[in-house]
């Protein structure tokens, strides 16, 4: 059984948001909510400054806190490690939204919770997730973490640096950030949001 994962090489991401647009189209994500978004932030201190673009989405955690809190089983983990939501069982109680440390889930206007699926419908057809296929700088890789020859395993092996978000929570994300600029001096100012 494959164990799907994704890696994003931050040194290659130019923040063009093509992945975010492709995701909106592919998954018919309604206005105002997002499966995928790009965080743009300044890293470092003068004169060592860097603008980092970090695409974010559901990390398909190996130990997903959003699954056990679900009272109906609408949130579940597949054998391939995808964390999905069955809208037919979701009561929109919001417990999974509360449990997700990455703000990856939202309430769909149809009355159920939704989020990135790693394009499970495309994977089932042997295709890549829409964001991976669309990225013009090829910064995204996807595949089976247990196959050493898969693109994602190779990218992880070759990366100079690998990070996951909020590792202290023990969620064991399967979205890896590669070659991020140094976290030293990271600015933590208030976030500015553009819808």
């Amino acid at each position: 059984m494959p164990r799907y994962a994704m890696a994003i090489d931050l040194s290659l991401c130019v923040g063009c948001a093509a992945c975010a647009v492709a995701c909106k189209m592919e998954n018919e994500v309604p206005p105002g909510v997002y499966n995928l978004w790009i965080r743009e932030r300044e890293v470092g201190t003068y004169p060592d400054l860097w603008v980092e673009f970090r695409p974010e989405q559901c990390l398909h955690c190996e130990n997903p806190p959003c699954v056990p809190v679900c009272p109906t089983g609408a949130s579940y983990q597949t054998e391939e490690g995808l964390v999905l939501v069955d809208p037919r069982k979701c009561i929109a109680c919001g417990a999974c939204i509360a449990a997700c440390p990455y703000d990856a889930r939202y309430l769909h206007p149809a009355g159920h919770v939704s989020k990135c699926t790693f394009c499970a419908h495309r994977i089932a057809q042997g295709r890549l997730p829409a964001c991976v296929e669309t990225c013009p700088t090829l910064c995204r890789t996807f595949g089976d973490l247990d196959d050493p020859e898969s693109p994602v395993s190779k990218a992880l092996k070759e990366a100079g640096r690998m990070d996951v978000l909020r590792p202290e929570l023990g969620t064991r994300p399967k979205l890896f950030y590669l070659n991020a600029p140094s976290k030293k001096g990271l600015t933590r100012e208030k976030e500015v949001r553009h819808d």
Binding site: Y34, R39, P68, P71, A74, A99, R193
Partner: protein, 253 residues
């Protein structure tokens, strides 16, 4: 400076209707527990309290249903067709539903009285415990720490006893003051149990209101006539405030 193309799905996911539920479920759970105890003691007020319990549970369930974006998809049936003991909300659904059934049977005088009263007591404890647990399991939200698992059952009992005091039950005032005192002590210590950043957020977002609810609660120890109102307002206010402000994730990302 951090900017976004698209937006993380951060922000409030539980709104005033959910806050109302967190108050109503406390009232319903507290009353259910008192009702179970009154039935066990064979108290003459038991029947009156049973009706209050039924009304409050029904009201809470109605609010839950009415505010749910899934209300007309009838997906709530899955709460009772599946087994998810790791989910506090699953426990809460069963706790409330079975409290309602056992209180209903007690009110109608159908079935064995003592076992039903014991069952109501047990189910009401589940209904009392689950809201705090539903918050405390979220390790990612620093304001909802383990203290929620104690503060929410305590304030639920205060809410139940507050109603009992308003119903002029003479036995209610003493336990009301004791449990309110314990709740206020916990609420007073609570900011000290928070990481610095979370304490700052609590202070910035609702420091004044938090202090106001604590002060209101102290009013219950002043005049007897004031006690039920002060206790009800303080307990309800603290519950709603902690749910609302605790949705903050911190700057972890």
């Amino acid at each position: 400076m951090t900017e976004f193309y698209g937006l993380p799905n951060a922000g409030e996911f539980w709104h005033w209707t959910n806050l109302l539920h967190f108050i109503l479920v406390g009232l319903a759970g507290g009353m259910a527990l008192l009702t179970g105890l009154l039935h066990l003691k064979g108290h003459r007020e038991a029947r009156r309290y049973t009706l209050w319990t039924l009304v409050l549970i029904a009201l809470d369930l109605f609010v839950l249903w009415a505010e749910s974006p899934a209300r007309f998809r009838f997906t709530h049936v899955w709460l009772f067709l599946t087994f998810h003991p790791a989910s506090p909300i699953w426990w809460g659904s069963w706790g409330l539903a079975l409290s309602f059934v056992s209180a209903g049977l007690l009110y109608l005088g159908k079935g064995p009285g003592r076992p039903l009263a014991l069952a109501l007591l047990a189910f009401s404890l589940v209904a009392l415990a689950y809201p705090g647990m539903a918050l405390a399991v979220n390790l990612n939200r620093p304001l909802w720490n383990a203290l929620m698992a104690g503060l929410f059952p305590l304030t639920a009992l205060v809410l139940g006893l507050g109603v009992a005091a308003l119903l002029k039950s003479p036995w209610a005032l003493y336990p009301l003051r004791v449990l309110l005192g314990a709740s206020l002590l916990l609420a007073f210590l609570y900011p000290l149990t928070l990481p610095l950043e979370a304490r700052g957020h609590l202070w910035e977002e609702s420091g004044v209101l938090y202090g106001l609810f604590l002060a209101l609660g102290l009013g219950a120890f002043w005049k007897e006539g004031l006690a039920p109102w002060a206790a009800l307002l303080a307990a309800a206010g603290l519950r709603a405030l902690l749910v609302a402000v605790g949705q903050w994730q911190g700057l972890g990302l």
